[in-house]
């Protein structure tokens, strides 16, 4: 980790930079994948499976039999753990349901909002070394609560064409309607444009590599909504002398093991604490199976001492991290000062992995400084909020003249006339 001691505020802009990924050259490749899926449909998907996943697929759809078989393969211990996580995620996201309150803004003018599920949702779950069933919980649970009609899932098959049982088990648990063995940019394309087998959806969710991310960016421009553009995962920890340096080190490493481009930042008002945490990191990293990845991530990471905790918070707000951990016993005065963050972990017992799996909050969060202007995934992400208004005769009488005056001032006489005709009819009826 690079260490800085009380850096000048002029240097902060430099320190909050994330690595820049040159995605320009990806544009053409991913665009051609999308076009190809649009034209050739399932055939393109099978060709890409052979090319990228080295697997010949007969059937893109995962059958009911495969799902039933998978359910038997998942150990009971893991099923129980998933159930605990599912329940907490369900409770927290269920609490996000918005009440439909009718507001009478003026006598006779009633307005309200109604949350209506987005009808068709597509989830993408990457393959590779880790079967990210936890992300299925994070996306499938709110989709279920929202009442999305169709929730499909694409995930790349392993070389024998199978899908990890934990993925299939969790998909079934949250009520996903169909699972397809399709990965990469072509999966995003298939869900955005639809193929013979894969239905077109209105919004695509889920993490992925740079090809997947680029595909999400491109389909967004074509009109498919996306959850967010995910960059490398990040944690920023603010630790004071009441922290436990071993815990801090473990949390830093939780982030570092995600990938060599993970962002890890440690702030403190106390240089000794910083040193203790760094030493604990050096010790603990040796024990990790993903040690090489974690060490690479640590190379790009920063430890910074500031004058006081206020300044740590200020820097954190500028950095706008995906995860913030307040590693301290005295967090009360700090919590309300956080203005830019995806998710905040308070105190020495709130490790990031709690939020990653089972506390109930969502782990799909804004990275790359997007916490300044975007929220993480929540129940809101699976609904549209439609507004309604109902004006009685009294209502249009009360606000009609104001509308006429404003419409005329904006030069929109048909807008004015729509009100005038109604007001005239009401006046005539009265006479």
């Amino acid at each position: 980790m690079k260490t800085y001691n009380n850096p000048e505020i002029e240097s902060w802009n430099e320190l909050i930079q994330r690595p820049v990924i040159n995605q320009k050259e990806l544009d053409q490749l991913v665009n051609s994948i999308i076009e190809n899926v649009k034209i050739k449909g399932d055939i393109a998907l099978k060709e890409y499976a052979l090319q990228f996943d080295k697997v010949t697929l007969n059937n893109l759809v995962v059958s009911t039999e495969e799902i039933e078989k998978a359910k038997k393969l998942v150990p009971q211990e893991l099923k129980d753990a998933i159930q605990i996580a599912y329940e907490n995620i369900y409770i927290f996201h269920k609490s996000q349901e918005a009440a439909e309150t009718v507001i009478e803004t003026t006598n006779g003018v009633k307005c309200w909002r109604k949350s209506v599920a987005i009808e068709k949702i597509g989830l993408y779950i990457p393959g590779g070394s880790a079967p990210l069933f936890s992300t299925i919980l994070m996306l499938g649970t709110p989709a279920k609560i929202a009442g999305c009609n169709e929730v499909i899932l694409c995930t790349p098959p392993s070389k024998d064409g199978t899908i990890n049982p934990a993925i299939l088990y969790t998909a079934d648990l949250v009520g996903i309607t169909k699972v397809y063995r399709v990965g990469g940019a072509q999966a995003i394309a298939a869900m955005a444009v639809g193929t013979e087998t894969i239905p077109q959806v209105y919004k695509v969710f889920g993490p992925g590599n740079q090809y997947v991310t680029k595909a999400k960016e491109l389909v967004q421009q074509m009109g498919t909504a996306i959850d967010m553009l995910a960059g490398p995962s990040e944690v920023l920890i603010i630790a004071d002398n009441t922290c436990n340096p071993e815990f801090v080190a473990a949390d830093l490493l939780s982030q570092a093991e995600h990938g060599p481009d993970s962002q890890v930042v440690l702030l403190s008002d106390n240089e000794d604490i910083l040193t203790k945490c760094q030493m604990a990191v050096q010790r603990q990293v040796q024990l990790l199976p993903r040690k090489e990845i974690a060490l690479k991530a640590l190379e790009n990471s920063q430890s910074i001492v500031f004058n006081d905790l206020e300044e740590c918070i200020e820097f954190s707000n500028r950095y706008a991290p995906e995860h913030v951990i307040l590693a301290s016993e005295n967090t009360n005065s700090l919590i309300n000062k956080i203005t830019n963050a995806g998710s905040v972990f308070i105190g020495n017992y709130s490790c990031e992995s709690a939020g990653d799996y089972a506390s109930g909050t969502n782990h799909t969060l804004p990275t790359n400084g997007f916490a300044k202007n975007y929220s993480g995934v929540s129940l809101d992400s699976f609904v549209k909020k439609i507004t309604f208004q109902e004006l009685s005769k009294q209502g249009i009488e009360n606000i009609g003249e104001a509308i006429e005056i404003m419409a005329e001032a904006e030069g929109l006489f048909a807008h004015k006339s729509a009100v005038t005709l109604r007001l005239n009819e009401i006046r005539n009826d009265k006479n």
Copy 2:
């Protein structure tokens, strides 16, 4: 208007199409504007003002004196009308504030969400024939309620360099911090990247022509959030034999007068009603100052008779209109069937212009079918929702084992270790 009678469901996909605008060629032009603003800052803005707005600007900032002077120029009648609209918009958007409820998902595991204002907001208000002060109300009012620190406004100057007084009056009313005389794609660029004079913001709102829309699309890819990609405005009216055809015609024309590319759709279960509405349109359009624009829009518009109102609603949901008007006295059974729409106007006295100006709902709404997957602007658009979690020792004891099992199953051992260290410490303390 093109008229269809009970079209086959196979033809619906054709009927719900919006005109396709070829934006590819815009890409290069608008990209070069953004790059130029990035490099040359204020100088670029002044050069574009000369080139596009035919005006030589000395000062981009609108001074306090100009604002004070403008406030005196706005007629009292218009000020009163704006005040009525402002109050209704304020009441409805204030009611959208989310309570911060702490949820204990498991004993000792507390989770909550907090809405935090996006710190820096930029509004764009187009110039041209109509001074859209109503849009300032729609965007500035929720920004004020949210508590956004900095809310700036860019709007193109007229040829003498001035800004319409109603724009300045309304901006002042909603507490906008600074107004700049900059228009077009260069205004969006300036707010996204910042110049010597114009501060960089985190999210840009507001309507505009195809250059402005393209600029919003491009800055979104660069990390600046945007309200939405606005296409031509749309209304879909469902009218039955309890409608007032004169009102329906006036509402269709309110939409048609917006621009030649406005989308107007009329559905009914009753052919006579359709004919009556069309005849009223022909009569009323003759009286409009913007007659030529409205006639052009009507050329591309559709009237469709369906078997029953259910089918009308089904078609409407497929079309996903920005505005839906239920022109009927019997709307109760229809309201809940609407699944895709921006804003809904219920009954014969809820004209679209009520929502455009003063009912209290927002008029910045998803067009072009985006009502399938996007909401209109609301208080939510001006905040991020940050999640928090606080686990006590009891809390991590309750869910720790589940996290360990799940982390191990995903191959993330540092995630597991962060929990194990804490559980061990708690157990050691107990012994």
